[in-house]
Symmetry: C2
């Protein structure tokens, strides 16, 4: 937690906030080891970043006063990310990583190699998704919550909705058997599709190509999804 | 497991191997769903890659025959990595990721913000380190086991041993307060130091700079170590 993110519900006035949930209170007390009177970095969810002064530090109540939000959040990545739904254990980390890296729009979609049970995880509840996205923002020092869309059926999504989502972007799909190496130093708006463990099946690659995606590879090494995401994003934009 | 890694102990002849451990047997049976007579990708630990034919498939014994090892492993990354020891939960994944990405020499060192208890984890036993490195190789399709060195004291390591280790390399330290952005497209031998959560303390940065390291930053976003590793490696080399 490299920034304390405040929501509208935390604010008790224009320049004052009260934090009452255990997670943030505990973190501020035990990890930050904040002192009364100390000015600490804070941000307004979906707003600006800034700071405030700790005036009360209790295990179940932290009051921050003299809040100012005078700094814009870091720039977004110009990336729309489409991922095959990872298995639950990986999903948590992927949501945090995507949020940390500055992606603002993510579709989690079905694919042949996505096990049906993955769609049953409580991690896909909106509150749980939001929680992991916020952890990622707190890590990065960002305030802008990404949007996450769930698409449980591959074909209608790719045929009917994906074309509009990738319009005006350069659309790439990470595919180990592609001939084209992953481009670097992009500055234009980009869409990126990442398959499940084991990869997209050939029919899915055909569908994505028909939709306008270009296959790109990352070299000979096969990466887990949670490694491939930061690797691809670092390579695409710099 | 995108390649079956065989050790000298698995080989029962020049072209024949027996796998008896539960982890690999189970994976081959349940994930690969291999069939008797099928040719499957295999590699010799610290040797070449190739393939062999499954002739026996039992829960506790898999026999592979007609093994040929005719393909070199993918090229190493020209990188020597020095990391502050991450907390145990992250250490597992970091070892796998580093191994997947092709790093062949890794030092895990102490730093002011590394909690003493981290050095007590059984994950640092040589057998455990080896196990996680092998998982990373199996993921990547590589056969060359990285070397991991533990350095429990920062000062004598950085003063006495690190200078020789980074000789003839471009030495970089990831440091959010540096003015220099992380370089890209390197082809020369490179050394990279990555700090603990919370970063190196200023004295440690001074010591590393005195040793020949140049600070580089990754932009405004602060990443967890397990995200920073693939991100930095993707950016440095492409």
């Amino acid at each position: 937690m490299n920034i304390i993110l405040l929501t509208a519900e935390d604010l008790t006035g224009d320049t004052c906030a009260e934090i009452r949930d255990q997670r943030r209170c505990q973190h501020i007390l035990s990890v930050h080891q904040a002192q009364v009177g100390e000015r600490i970095r804070a941000g307004l969810l979906n707003g600006n970043m800034g700071s405030g002064i700790m005036t009360t530090l209790q295990p179940d109540l932290i009051i921050i006063e003299d809040l100012i939000f005078d700094e814009p959040p870091p720039p977004d990545l110009p990336l729309f990310l489409v991922m095959a739904l990872p298995r639950p254990k990986m999903l948590k980390r992927v949501l945090q990583t995507v949020s940390t890296l500055g992606v603002k729009k993510l579709v989690l979609m079905n694919s042949y190699r996505v096990e049906k049970s993955y769609w049953q995880t409580p991690l896909l509840e909106p509150e749980s998704i939001r929680e992991h996205l916020i952890l990622g923002l707190e890590q990065a020092r960002d305030t802008q919550l990404p949007e996450v869309i769930l698409e449980k059926r591959f074909k209608p999504f790719v045929e009917d909705r994906l074309p509009a989502l990738i319009a005006q972007t350069r659309a790439l799909v990470a595919h180990p058997y592609s001939e084209t190496p992953c481009p670097t130093g992009l500055t234009e708006a980009t869409s990126l599709a990442i398959g499940p463990e084991g990869g997209f099946i050939p029919w899915e690659i055909e569908q994505l190509e028909a939709c306008g995606f270009e296959g790109v590879h990352l070299g000979k090494r096969i990466m887990r999804v949670e490694t491939a995401v930061p690797f691809l994003l670092a390579r695409l934009f710099h």
